[in-house]
Amino acid sequence: MKTLIRLLLLSVLIMISCERADDPSLFPAGRGFFLLNEGNYLAGNGSLSFYSTETKKIYNDLFTAENERALGDIPSYMAVDGDRGFIIVNNSGTIEVVDMRTMESLTTITGLNSPRQMAISGRKGYVSSLYSTAVSVIDLDRQEIAGSFDLGSTSEAMVIADGKLFSACWSGGNTVIVTDLETEEVITSVTVGLEPESMVLDKSGKLWVLCTGGWQGEEIPRLVKINTVTYEKETEIFFRTTGDNPSSLTANAAGDTLYFLDEGVRRMAVTASVLPSETFIAAGGRLLYKLAVGPGGQIVVTDAIDYQQKGDILVYNSRGILEDTEKAGIIPGFMFFVQD
């Protein structure tokens, strides 16, 4: 009898230890995307989610669950360097460096002035700022601020092409500033439309810039295509009226099709010279906030509802058919796709 009890206890112990060893992580590995929920301004309730395109489920509050503390105030962007993620927490002025497999916080970089986005080149990360005209340079290996250089203007979206950093001067600006990353000196600035909000490279290495026309509708919004070698504007496509509010310009993996939000999701070939007259995916009464297109062609949009409650993500296939709707965190915003 005692032996039986011992065996039972032993098996229970083995089961427990196996369970611990195989303790499923907070989210499954594999394809999907990380989602930064901005949370309310000054409330510090930003959060991190993962949506698995394999299980078709969302896994919320990953950072808090793993680290037993909040992520911070307005997480706005995520850049990835190998198995480390750099989460820009805008209003906290921090970057959380996390292990991409577990979301464990490895370190917190502090002392940044309203960081917005981050672009990586080599072993350095370049961080834009809503309030400062300086770009902070992050040493990715030491995970600390290594320096900064001045743009002469605040910055938002960043794209690196051919060793040059293209920084969009969004808040009240109308230029894209080009910086040589070797010398960290500004080469030139390209005047685009008012408030360049988002940028993406197409398959030809051309830079597309979406300009909102200003938050008070001062100008008609426009799409501008810039040659990243000559810095010339090759195309300017204007929207209909100053009342249009396009945002979230992105491209598919092939880089041959642009997507953006404008009363729904619109898409156009990079060779097009006019804007699409119809929406590809209708808004359906929702206030769509952010857009991303995955490597498999999935189109994901977020709905922040009243910006004071948990928002939704809507996952469509490449044909624009709704496949899934999930409840995310408060103000679901930036998305970063991972493959395997």
Binding site: G72, D73, I305
Partner: protein, 664 residues
């Protein structure tokens, strides 16, 4: 550290300054004693009459009106109105840290639904509709009266949550009295307040001066710090406030003329939220107000007439170091209102109110200097068909520039269950409106000049018990049930462009129960007094025009379901002690109720002594706030101090025995 914008009574060093300031004030007051002896007139009956009449009329009101006990007010002397309301009323106070912006809501609605008046003048900001109770010192009012719900239609414009009435009515007591309060506390807090009142049977004057300042760099616990839980000091949180009120009144036969002035100055650093790190935007704000009111009332025969005219000039200077933004906002409010009552018979009285309120406001975020004019007139009938029954029927119509407003009405009844008035039951029903504030209408971007007024329809039923023993000890119990529906609730929501704008978007159902208990007990040389307030308030969104809105059926943010506070004092010979307990259930911070601040429990206590000789009385209190040293937040990420200590000393010189003190 904020630069002080005026001279304070107390400079930096506490002990030296307490002595210096006391000497100065004593020197100033001593000559007055001689003067006062000549004008001293016995007037006990008059003072008692004022007190008793006020209490009785409030109990007989057809809707809930309460006046904060003067002894409770005395406990918070030198403090701000937000602290008093939180500790001694059923208002739910939301404040950004202990010196930060503070609003107070009544019956589950927001702070902008609470109307605040000072001697009849509305002092809500024309810009955002709120009153910041953190910069209203107790010294600015000798009486605080609270009306719950929107049933009171006597003002020019109304509010659907309720009303806080502050007043500084001089008493024709014949007493000449000077009082000085000095205090010092944790984290560099110093305060001072001085009052002087004098007068005769026909003339009364009050003068009140105050000042306070604090470094306010208190300790708090940051649970979300990147390296794990840490204790930190609050940054950018210093404040300095000061001001003065002056009141004068003259009465002759059946007429009364009074004038009231109030200058208020507050300079505050605005601390940032503590998220993972303590944010510091280098924000600061200065608020300066100058207000004045004149009143004239006349009671010839069956007629009563009151005329009130006043104005307020307010300036708000804001600075944000991080974005290098400096803004100056200003507003002016002018009003004149009249009240006529005519007693047709012994049982029926007709009342006519008419008034006009003109507001002008400027802001960096307005395209122009904006104006707003409200004219209103109300007609009421008060009828007592039988001795025990009082009926009220009142209708008001507002005429507002650029806006149409539905007529408002209130109907109520009170019934004396017992002949001696110990038991009263009452009920009222009303429909009333709240006008959009100027930010809602004109802010760029997002202001919406097509907004409709918010409307509220609802009522209450209440039972009131009061027994005054022959010894003068008073025991009271009040129960009230209320329910209302608010439509066209104005909220700021994002549009397609991501820009926020003001919209009439939701409906809210509010229902709840309120309990108030007051008790005084005397045993041998012991005297004990206690007040307890409890409110259960369910304020739920019932309708929304937002698609997929999960706030429907949920409690409004920052509106606790349960709120309770209790003040207990005990006195033995010259010694006294008291404890205040305040507890609130969780307060939701998101509209879908998915996040909340946990339930809070706070206890403060004091011990002190009060003694006097001749015409001099000294009170000294040692106060411990947050005795249990528990972390707390009123607004998410804006921590309140842990345990703090204060010492307050009050010196009063009077020409009369202190038996009159409880009458004002």
């Amino acid at each position: 550290m904020i630069k002080r914008s005026f001279t304070y009574i107390i400079p930096s060093c506490v002990s030296r300054n307490i002595i210096t300031a006391s000497t100065v004030i004593l020197s100033a007051l001593l000559p007055l004693q001689g003067v006062a002896q000549d004008i001293f007139i016995e007037d006990t009956v008059n003072i008692l009459a004022v007190t008793v009449t006020a209490s009785a009329s409030l109990r007989h009101s057809t809707h809930t009106v309460v006046k904060i006990d003067s002894a409770v007010m005395a406990r918070y002397e030198g403090g701000d109105m937000a602290t008093l309301l939180h500790a001694a009323s059923l208002l739910s106070v939301k404040r950004y840290g202990n010196a930060g912006l503070a609003s107070a809501s009544i019956r589950g609605l927001s702070g902008s639904h609470t109307m605040v008046t000072w001697n009849g003048l509305s002092i809500n900001s024309p810009g955002n509709g709120y009153s910041d109770f953190a910069i209203i010192p107790l010294s600015a009012a000798t009486s605080v009266k609270i009306t719950s719900g929107g049933s009171d239609l006597d003002d020019i414009a109304g509010s659907i949550g309720g009303k806080v009435e502050l007043s500084t009515e001089p008493l024709f007591s014949g007493v000449t009295e000077g009082s000085l309060t000095l205090g010092a506390g944790s984290y560099g807090e110093y305060l001072s307040a001085a009052t002087l009142r004098s007068g005769s049977d026909h003339f009364a004057v009050n003068l009140s001066l105050w000042g306070s300042m604090a470094q306010n760099d208190f300790r708090y616990v940051n649970n979300d710090a990147p390296g794990g839980q840490v204790e930190e000091n609050r940054a950018n949180s210093a404040f300095a406030t000061g001001g003065a009120t002056a009141d004068a009144a003259f009465r002759f036969r059946r007429s009364l003329l009074s004038a009231h002035l109030w200058y208020n100055d507050a300079a505050r650093e605005l601390p940032g939220p503590v998220t993972t790190v303590q944010q510091n935007f280098g924000e600061s704000q200065k608020d300066r107000s100058f207000r004045g009111v004149m009143k004239y009332s006349l009671q010839p025969g069956r007629l009563t007439a009151h005329i009130t005219a006043g104005g307020s000039y307010d300036v708000n200077l804001y600075h944000n170091e991080v974005v290098q933004l400096t803004g100056e906002n200003g507003s002016e409010t002018y009003m004149v209102k009249t009240h006529f009552g005519y007693r047709l018979t012994d049982r029926l009285e007709l009342l006519l109110n008419a008034g006009d309120e003109y507001q002008v406001a400027r802001s960096l975020s307005y395209q122009n200097t904006e104006e707003h004019n409200v004219f209103s007139a109300s007609l009421a009938a008060k009828y007592n068909p039988v001795h025990r029954l009082r009926l009220l029927l009142q209708a008001r119509q507002m005429a507002v520039s650029g806006m149409s407003v539905i007529p408002e009405f209130t109907a109520g009844a009170s019934w004396l269950l017992s002949e001696n008035g110990e038991h009263i039951v009452k009920a009222s029903f009303s429909r009333n409106t709240k006008l959009p504030c100027m930010n809602d209408l004109y802010w760029v971007p997002g202001g919406n000049n097509t907004l409709s007024p918010e409307t509220s329809t609802g009522g209450e039923a209440a039972w009131s018990f009061a027994r005054v023993a022959s010894s003068g000890l008073r025991n009271t119990l009040d129960l009230a049930l209320h329910a209302s529906r608010v439509d066209n609730l104005i909220q700021w929501l994002p549009g397609q462009s991501g820009l926020w704008s003001a919209v009439n978007v939701r409906s809210v159902n509010v229902r709840g129960a309120e309990v108030r208990v007051g008790s005084e007990v005397a045993v041998s040389e012991w005297k004990m007094k206690g007040n307890l307030n409890y409110a259960f308030t369910r304020s739920q969104v019932t309708g929304s025009e937002i698609s997929n809105d999960n706030s429907v059926g949920k409690q409004l943010i920052y509106s606790p379901l349960h709120h309770l506070n209790m003040n207990m004092d005990a006195g033995w010979k010259i010694y006294r002690a008291g404890v205040t307990v305040i507890t609130e259930s969780r307060r939701y911070t998101t509209s879908d109720n998915s996040e909340w601040l946990p339930a809070s429990f706070n206890a403060d206590m004091f011990i002190g002594a009060s003694f006097g000789k001749g015409r001099t009385r000294v009170k000294a209190d040692f106060i411990i706030n947050n005795v249990l040293n528990s972390p707390a937040e009123s607004v998410r990420n804006y921590p309140l101090p842990m345990r703090t200590f204060n010492l307050r000393i009050n010196l009063t010189l009077s020409e009369k025995p202190k038996k009159h003190e409880n009458t004002h």
